[in-house]
């Protein structure tokens, strides 16, 4: 399944434009701070409306040609640059939010598995406000994976994790990439991460 993107959007006095096709596997979006990586992910997720262009995932058109699917119909899992956990739900309820909404047939990961490789079992009863930076980040990753998406958007998902944890999570991402063949758009500034995970790189500037 491939992602086909050709979009343009004005933000303030800047124009964010991108045009690329990402094959199946993990495509790294690379580029300096402020170039528009997050904005592109937001447009793919349906949170920011392009001024023109199209977004296609596999055979589905998410945007363009008169189509503009609402975010909930796009089946996209998004790990935000800022965790964006629901402050009024405990960790467990955050994790299960998308999981419970997904068609059971569409789910490809269970709570136990996610909790396990993310190492967040001891946090399930906690409120997000009491989590450390890295803990919140891991919960956010779990929440996105558990919603059974058909495509993943990850915005610097490993930035505040230590090397050991980072390795374990990368192993899972590799598995998702290879076994489930989910297309993944991945933003990172870390060379090593990109070298290990990316099957393709899009350089923006």
């Amino acid at each position: 399944m491939a992602i086909d993107i050709d979009i343009e959007r004005r933000l303030g006095d800047r124009v964010i434009a991108a045009r690329f096709t990402a094959g199946p596997g993990l495509t790294a979006l690379f580029g300096p701070s402020g170039v528009g990586k997050t904005s592109i992910l937001n447009m793919v997720a349906g949170l920011l409306r392009p001024d023109r262009g199209h977004i296609r995932v596999g055979t589905r058109t998410l945007f363009g040609d008169g189509v503009d699917l609402p975010p909930e119909a796009r089946r996209i899992g998004y790990v935000f640059q800022d965790g964006r956990l629901f402050p009024h739900r405990r960790v467990r309820a955050n994790l299960l939010y998308g999981h419970d909404l997904a068609d059971p047939a569409a789910r490809w990961m269970g709570l136990d598995e996610a909790v396990d490789f993310l190492g967040i079992g001891h946090l399930l009863g906690r409120w997000p406000a009491s989590l450390s930076g890295g803990e919140a980040q891991r919960v956010a990753i779990g929440r996105a994976l558990l919603s059974g998406p058909e495509c993943l958007l990850m915005d610097e998902p490993l930035s505040s994790l230590d090397a050991a944890r980072r390795g374990e999570i990368m192993a899972v991402i590799e598995r998702i990439r290879d076994e489930l063949k989910l297309p993944i758009l991945y933003v990172s500034h870390d060379r090593a991460e990109v070298d290990r995970l990316a099957t393709g790189v899009v350089a923006l500037e």
Binding site: A45, G46, L47, P70, P71, E72, R74, R75, I76, G77, Y78, F80, R84, F86, P87, H88, Y97, G98, L101, A102, W127, A129, S130, R143, A144, S147
Partner: protein
Amino acid sequence: MMLSAEEWSIVALSLKVGGAAVLVTLPVAFALAWVLARKRFPGRVLLDGLVHLPLVLPPVVTGWLLLIAFGPLGPAGRWLESWFGVSLMFRWTGAALAAAIMALPLMVRAMRLSIEGIDRRLEGAARTLGAGRWHAFRTVSLPLALPGVLAALVLGFARSIGEFGATITFVSNIPGETRTLPLAIYSALQVPGAEAMVTRLALLSVALSLGALVLSEWLVRRTHAGRPPHGD
């Protein structure tokens, strides 16, 4: 303080009127608060002004307008009569309507403040997780606006418990039907030397609203159980 049967019935009526007013107004007030907080449309300031009207006009005038609209000769009154066979005149439902109208601006403002404070990015996050507009509203926006909703309930109930001018003008002062605490207090105030009675009834009002306050504080604590307001 032992209450007489009459005092009990006045308290019960006040609770019924105040409770009905607040509960019926809640969804309407929330919808208005939402529209005023989120939507930009021509006439928005006018709608805002309309919502504030019952606060600005002397209550007696509001009662008088209600009488004109909902009286047997008024358009709303005729409509209710012919379609539902219902009349609000001299009924506790009319008292509840008066209280609801008077409470409306306070309830709208409180909820609007909370709605404006919601971090909308969280609604976006909910949508990407598969929540439709309505589900995201129910599970994210509404709970995040809860402090405003609770404040609205307290303010609205207190205002209802204290409402006098619009009620007596609209549905008069009928024992057991529209004679709520403030109307009973008013009657007592008109009689020289009845200060003791006034004090008693006023203390009852105070007790009722203190009860509502304590209940709301308890609700806040229950719903947010242990959740620290912000990090750290």
